[in-house]
Symmetry: C2
Subunit: 231 residues, 2 copies
């Protein structure tokens, strides 16, 4: 296998990073069906992406396709997994077992994406001690000690906005290095801790914009006067 030294890879755009799991998902399906090699055109067609974009994205992993043959399926899977750090499973703690927390605990596919939620916490005494799927809900006070003993590096926050910063602070002081934040608030954390917000509104923005554009062009086609275009 040939991997480019990662220090040579300059900056990888978030858009590329966001697409890598899609490629991984498709490649794993292809591998299961016994396909050894795959071209960027094939991937592009299946995921409605420009093949040139696909080629550029895959290049960040350091694997280079062969002309006429394409990329080796297994090689590409390994390279993406290694690039994302998904070749080793990261164990995570989740805090906040409301509806959203329970939904994430029930997602049985995270382990295909390098993540294993190993414990769930809440500060509500009414929730502590209950069982959600495979998880016994633990009291939040137990997080620091357990995180250190288990060397937990990732935390998932699914508490209400007003509680999120204090949970993040607790995670940071317990040695957690990466936070996946589902609370609708911008969290502060000191270097080198990474916070990634799950931004539902970002997806909604893409959808809304396309819908608004479609509806507007249809109205224009039908010759109905549209507000704001001629102002």
């Amino acid at each position: 296998m040939t991997y480019v030294d990662e220090s040579e890879v300059k900056s990888v755009s978030q858009a590329t990073l966001r697409r890598l799991p899609k490629y991984l998902h498709l490649l794993r399906n292809l591998k299961r069906r016994g396909r050894d090699a795959v071209s960027c055109s094939f991937i592009g067609e299946h995921l409605s992406l420009d093949p040139t974009q696909v080629r550029k994205d895959l290049a960040v992993t350091g694997v280079i396709g062969k002309p006429k043959v394409g990329h080796g399926t297994s090689e590409l899977i390994d390279a993406i997994e290694q690039f994302l750090g998904w070749n080793n499973v990261t164990e995570a703690f989740l805090v906040g077992v409301g509806n959203l927390g329970a939904a994430l605990l029930g997602y049985d596919r995270f382990n295909h994406y390098g993540l294993k939620i190993v414990a769930a916490f809440d500060k509500d005494p009414a929730k502590v001690g209950k069982t959600i799927g495979d998880y016994d809900v633990l009291p939040l006070e137990k997080l620091p000690d357990l995180a250190r003993r288990m060397n937990i590096l990732m935390g998932i926050i699914t508490v209400p906005a007003e509680a999120a910063q204090s949970v993040a602070d607790l995670m940071v002081s317990s040695g957690i290095r990466a936070i996946w934040n589902f609370a609708p608030v911008n969290l502060q954390a000191p270097e080198p801790v990474i916070v990634q917000d799950e931004e539902l509104y970002a997806t909604l923005a893409i959808l809304s914009r396309h819908l608004a554009k479609n509806l507007k062009s249809e109205k224009l086609e039908r010759g109905i006067e549209v507000n704001g275009l001629d102002s």
Copy 2:
């Protein structure tokens, strides 16, 4: 107010679209605190973004800032809302009231982002008739008739992967034009219907990559041999 005719705006990147809700959120907070104008540097500083990036992003809405003064806060809010179609609230139906569906029904902030979930459906007789927050869960069979009568344009899918396509088909045949899909599957829908997947794994990929990079560079600093770098 000066808006550029939208047909002049070429293609807007998804990255820009994803950032617009962040700007909107900040601008609304500033407006509440009585701030009339804001500069791109100020916005950039607050959101940890490059001011040039902010300027480029905001330009897609057609509002142009004044030198030394910056952008008018209210003007910018209006422009972003109009650009995203959030000046009019879009009514949506949600199908699938498991944990994730219930979590979305409980999100009371969607209305600030142009979205109002007006009804929730499930095909499980055990769930139909129950109340979740403000919603009575309706049987899925009622969706087509209600969607047409209420002229619903947006559907939210929070059912398991194996049921998602049939729900999408039902939505499309009921006149729904935009689908926000939370099921971990690629859905097919005919033009001009838009499907936007909520890709949790995409966010996870960004987080995992940064964590893997940080850990690797720390190991390198500590002089520990790292697998794969010298192979």
